[in-house]
Amino acid sequence: MTRLAERLLLLALLAWALAAPAAGAWTLERLMQGLAQARSARASFVEKKTVAVLERPLVSSGVLSFAAPDKLEKRTLRPRPELLRLEGETLTLERAGRRSVLDLRSYPEVAAFVESIRGTLAGDRKALEALYRLSLEGSEASWVLTLVPADPAMRALVERIRIAGRRSELSVIEILQANGDSSLMSVQRLP
């Protein structure tokens, strides 16, 4: 890196620090700003689904990847290969040799659920607040963002979504359904 570039970077960081709200206070604003910095990310995931009628959780795993502003891909490798791709308003699901394409606008519940993850990864506070009531706990080093659906119809399906992380990285996404079933997805960032 040249000296000029170093200086510019320093200046930019300084400007960002000054623009940020009162240093030290961990706010939703700062979390979203931090998340919005990441333009793309890849992570491995392990998802455990707890279903009332099942004795033990169902486990699946794969790779999650995100590219700003609106591309999200969930590639499941185990127990069965499956690819879920979200781009704009189109949701594509490839499974068991079949490919189905959904228009998200036709499936508001699916849209709300998908938006919770995409909106968080993108640091898109506006998109999240259009669908959920947000609350943040913890510190920058270990935070938990809770999303409660604003729409009663949606709340009849999903009670709340909790997303935990450190700084601008997600570590756990937990979805609690209204019927008591739940899903816990642990995420590990990949280089």
């Binding site: 998802e47 689904k49 279903v51 009628v53 099942l54 004795e55 033990r56 959780p57 169902l58 486990v59 699946s60 969930k74 499941t76 127990p79 069965r80 499956e82 879920l84 308003e89 699901l93 499974r95 079949r98 189905s100 228009d103 606008r105 036709s106 499936y107 508001p108 699916v110 019927n179 079933d181």
Partner: protein, 781 residues
């Protein structure tokens, strides 16, 4: 009035009374049936039935535009609620859950009879282990919502399978604010099915009115309707409006001409008498001959004015005003009637040819014209002379005629110019013969291209079926039709896998045949056996057999219920789809399997007929491409109409040869007519007009009208110099024809416009042509 006038007057009054009674009681229609063949092929029959009685014909597409998305969705929900409560609608869909709850419940209740996965082996220990394992994998996946919610009742995932089959069988529009919206988000969409048939235009009109009444415009939102029934109502209104407007306008203009000829109400009334009688008798004849009068036929009322008023004009102008009334009439009849009679007969022959058309619209037109012209001629011959006032004061047009007589004496060189023009036109027509005729029926459709395009957009947005490719099966009863559909469906699966087809629908997917349902029921074990197999199958699984009592109960209930029948589906989207795919006709049952063409790849939007026919080899099924059928139907009409017109022309030539006693004389009468038709057609073609059936009718009319002119010139020629009085009558008759058809050319309906344009142009050319051709050759003197 003399005693001798009483008989024709009494006969006329009686005829008018009968015709009026028939016309008043006649059934008028403006639907597509006028364009459909009288003796259709099976494929055409299907096309007709689908349009007339099928669900396709009952479909109403409703769009709400303007305002914002939220307001449009609210409008959509209110409108759907109102229409669902309205008996005039059998089904209303707008994407609301309320509209699909019934369907979901039906699928759930009958899943073991509907799911193709239910077969021998699936409910054995090994089968259950595999099926439940698959379902658990589905639950763990991102697509597992439904499977997870119903895991305890449906562990083998039959409902999830049925729902995903539903989603694959046709795209649905996206939702905005809980109601269907177009893909570009500019309008809210609803799909309604009327209870009444598409052919019942009155009921369709009432249904459209009900939608408009139920819609309360607010915040700038507007409503727009489309679909076959809406189009039928719209065409009827258009045709009715045009027929009335053109009839009134034509009558007023001709009346003005008659008044200019003689400022006498008697002349006006007498001049219009043959026209009105002809129109009334024409309608009555069509009503008796066809049982129903098509609106377009009424539109031709205007055409009859141009032809029938001529007869009266000949009488008024040609009769010698210097003689006393009875003598005057006798002299006119003796001198002029034979030529007029021959003109009438040639017109009748020309139109009689159309009677043999397989196209009911054209046959109606033929009958209407034949009856109308005959009636008008009879009134002119037998009634008018008796009713003429003793003193007939008609403006002397001799000076006018004398000037025109110059044309007939013009240099013979002019004749060669006309012949050269005709030859040039013929060459042009031959050179352009491939693009000369319209290939499809769209030219005959009164609905504007904009409305048709809008309909196409709504259809695409709603994912409404575009039933171009179909497989048709015939069977003696419903059960064998369903069984045959199942066989064909099996034969088509490899084509879907190979990408030849994107997919297909089958009535057997909605309502499996009894034997298939029984086979599926036979695969379900008794409750005790099922419990035992589940325990064995689920050893080591996270799902415990004890949790599945709901499933065991559902299976036991399914085994105990009677087979799924058509009545069970009534009033649901499935019942509706079934009604359009499984039909009972006069000749037995029919099952339809619409095929979907692939949307991408090398054969996008088209289906290779050879591959489909090969897959169907050995079965009774027929593969149809309805677009190709409709195009073939139309070109068949066109070929037939051309042949009939030529036959009519040949008959006219023969009649003239016999009546005039000389082939040469007949040739002299016919040649200006042929030249006129050729030059008219050439000019229209050069102006870029694409000919349809109505242009052909126009050419026939030119021959009918022009033959009067040519016969008069022939008659005058036989007596030496053409008399100015006769020439004046021809000029006036020509003017009325131009007025009558000029009015038609101003119509907003394409069919009437092309006819009006053709005939007014032809009439304009016919008179000078006839005059020039009658000019004597110097050597013949």
């Amino acid at each position: 009035m003399t005693r001798r006038a009483l008989l024709p007057l009494a006969l006329w009054l009686a005829a008018i009374a009968v015709a009026a009674a028939i016309a008043a009681g006649a059934r008028y229609t403006a639907d597509l049936s006028g364009f459909l063949p009288r003796s259709p092929s099976p494929a055409q029959q299907l096309l007709v039935e689908q349009l007339r009685d099928g669900a396709v014909g009952r479909m109403m597409l409703i769009a709400i535009e303007g305002s914002d998305a939220g307001a449009r969705a609210a409008h959509s929900r209110r409108l759907a609620r109102a229409l669902r409560a309205d008996a005039r609608f059998a089904y209303v869909a707008n994407g609301e859950a309320a509209g699909s709850a019934r369907e979901r419940a039906l699928l759930l209740e009958h899943r073991y009879r509907l799911s193709p996965a239910v077969e021998a082996g699936r409910y054995t220990e090994a089968g259950l282990r595999a099926a439940i394992g698959d379902t658990l994998d589905l639950v763990s996946s991102s697509a597992g919502g439904l499977a997870q919610a119903l895991l305890a009742r449906d562990p083998t995932g039959e409902l999830a399978r049925l729902v995903s089959m539903q989603m694959e069988s046709g795209s649905r529009p996206p939702l905005a604010g809980g109601a269907w919206a177009s893909r570009d988000g500019s309008r809210a969409l609803l799909l309604a099915l009327t209870a009444a048939d598409g052919a019942d235009t009155d009921a369709q009109e009432a249904a459209a009115a009900a939608v408009r009444a139920a819609f309360e415009p607010a915040q700038g939102a507007t409503l727009r309707l489309s679909g076959p029934g809406v189009f039928a109502v719209e065409s009827r209104m258009l045709i009715r409006g045009e027929a009335t407007r053109l009839g009134v306008l034509g009558t007023l203009l001709v009346a003005a001409l008659l008044l200019a000829l003689a400022r006498s109400p008697a002349v006006l009334a007498l001049g219009l008498l043959p026209v009105l009688t002809g129109a009334l008798v024409g309608v009555a004849a069509v009503a008796v001959g066809f049982g129903v009068v098509h609106g377009i036929t009424l539109g031709f009322g205007a055409t009859l004015i141009g032809e029938a008023v001529d007869y009266a004009i000949y009488l008024f102008v040609q009769a010698d005003a210097t003689r006393a009334a009875p003598e005057r009439t006798r002299a006119w009849l003796a001198e002029f009637w034979p030529a007029i009679r021959l003109g009438v007969l040639t017109s009748l022959l020309g139109f009689a040819a159309l009677l043999f058309s397989g196209f009911p619209g054209l046959a109606q037109l033929g009958l209407y014209s034949v009856a109308g012209i005959a009636a008008a001629a009879l009134v002119t011959r037998y009634l008018l002379p008796q009713l003429l006032p003793a003193e007939l004061r008609v403006r002397d047009l001799s000076a006018f005629g004398a000037r025109f007589a110059g044309l007939a004496r013009a240099h013979p060189g002019w004749r060669w110019l006309v012949m050269a023009l005709a030859a040039g036109a013929a060459l042009l027509l031959v050179a352009q013969r491939d693009g000369l005729w319209a290939r499809d029926m769209s030219a005959l459709n009164p609905i504007s291209a904009e409305s048709q395009a809008y309909d196409g957009v709504l259809r695409a947005d709603l994912g409404a079926p575009d039933t171009r490719y179909l497989i048709v099966l015939r069977a003696a009863d419903q059960e064998s039709a369903l069984a045959a559909a199942e066989e064909v469906a099996q034969a088509l699966e490899p084509l879907v896998a190979a990408g030849v087809l994107a997919g297909f629908d089958s009535p057997s997917r909605i309502l499996p045949s009894r034997s298939t349902q029984e086979a599926r029921m036979a695969a379900l074990p008794e409750a005790a056996v099922l419990r035992q197999r589940l325990r064995a199958a689920l050893r080591g699984s996270p799902l415990r057999a004890e949790r599945l009592e709901g499933f065991v109960q559902d299976v036991a209930r399914a085994r105990g219920t009677p087979p799924l029948a058509r009545e069970d589906l009534k009033g649901s989207a499935f019942g509706l789809a079934l009604d359009s795919l499984l039909l009972e006709g006069a000749s037995g049952w029919k099952a339809l399997l619409p095929l979907r063409a692939p949307a991408q790849g090398p054969s996008a939007y088209t289906i290779d007929p050879a591959r489909v026919r090969a897959a169907l080899a050995g079965s009774q099924a027929t593969f149809l491409d309805l677009k190709a059928e409709a195009d073939a139907l139309y070109s068949g009409y066109l070929r037939e109409a051309l042949a009939l017109s030529l036959a009519g022309f040949a008959a006219i030539a023969l009649l003239l040869a016999v009546a005039l006693g000389s082939a040469a004389r007949a040739g002299r009468v016919l040649s200006p007519l042929v030249a006129t038709v050729l030059i008219t057609a050439g000019l229209l073609a050069a102006a870029g007009q694409v000919f349809n059936l109505l242009h052909l009718v126009g050419f026939l009319l030119i021959v009918a009208i022009g033959s009067n002119y040519a016969l008069f010139f022939d008659r005058e020629l036989a007596r030496g110099e053409p008399s100015p009085r006769v020439l004046a009558s021809l000029l006036l008759a020509n003017l009325t024809t131009l007025v009558g058809f000029g009015v038609l050319a101003s119509s907003s309906l394409g069919v009437l416009r092309s006819l009006g344009l053709t005939v007014s142009l032809g009439a304009l050319l016919a008179l000078p042509c006839a005059a020039l051709f009658s000019a004597r050759r110097p050597d013949a003197r």
